[in-house]
Symmetry: C2
Subunit: 145 residues, 2 copies
DNA sequence: TGAATGGGCACTAAATAGATGCTATATTCT
DNA sequence: AGAATATAGCATCTATTTAGTGCCCATTCA
């Protein structure tokens, strides 16, 4: 339905929280306490972000996650791609040609649309997302470098 | 996954086909023969488009559907909205506030993203979509007025 | 050693999307 | 009138995707 999944929502919420918090490491427990989202699911999401090196993890007491790069250098496209595979508007717009309909005439156009949607996400950074929250407009850009 | 449903895909394919064909009325049978998509599903889609007055229907031999307005005056946003309810990138971006997380800080940002994605679809017309097909660059703009 | 914290794996449940069957109604043609 | 062509409506079934959970392991630190 042209909609982001919960994984993306949760991931973005968590990352924005980290960007805003200013702490060095933020644990799943803390995020869950603040954002009220399913603990285990958030853990899955953060694990994926950790694998993709969007965040780095430290175990043990005092541990948790932190961003590996400045929030203004992290695009939503990157995050969403990691969390839901791709941002393709249609299956035929991710490279795999539209085998279903050899005579489909809209593929080229759809691809263009897909590209534009992608650009929107490419151009939107985590910092921009976080800046608009309640604690926004502070120091999101320099956090967690 | 930020993806259009089959309903939208089929709808767009069919509408583009109609825009390109130059015929007055195009039947489901003809479209199916050409595009190889599930007949009954396409019928559902066209019925919805008919209800929304994107196309008008005529029954009986020689009947079928035709666009009610020029292809260059029909945005993808309009079509997609009809076929899948809305184009909201997140549930909290369609008016209904994000009740799940009172402390969600990204709502405002997500809304902005949603708006931009919407713009992409608002600015892309059926004519643009159809023009890129094999029979493109002809007379799509003046068809079926 | 024990408490805190992430990592991995497998699984269930819920929601959404895709597809189809059947019958009714309108229109045209013979 | 009757047959053929088309869309309209409704219900339903299935498949796929998404959401959410349980359990145990590994690491770190006091």
């Amino acid at each position: 339905m042209l909609r982001l999944t919960k994984r993306s929502e949760y991931g973005l919420m968590a990352l924005a929280f980290m960007a805003q918090s200013g702490q060095s490491y933020t644990s799943v427990r803390e995020i869950v306490a603040k954002l009220r989202i399913p603990r285990r699911l958030l853990a899955e999401v953060l694990k994926d972000l950790s694998r993709a090196e969007i965040v780095e993890a430290v175990r043990g007491p005092g541990g948790g996650y932190r961003l590996t790069s400045p929030a203004d250098q992290l695009s939503l496209a990157r995050i969403v791609e990691i969390l839901e595979g791709s941002v393709a508007v249609a299956k035929c717009a991710d490279g795999s040609s539209c085998d279903l309909s050899p005579s489909c005439t809209i593929q080229e156009g759809i691809n263009l649309v897909a590209q534009r949607v992608k650009s929107v996400l490419d151009d939107f950074t985590l910092a921009q997302l976080a800046d608009r929250g309640p604690q926004g407009s502070q120091s999101v850009h320099e956090v967690a470098v």
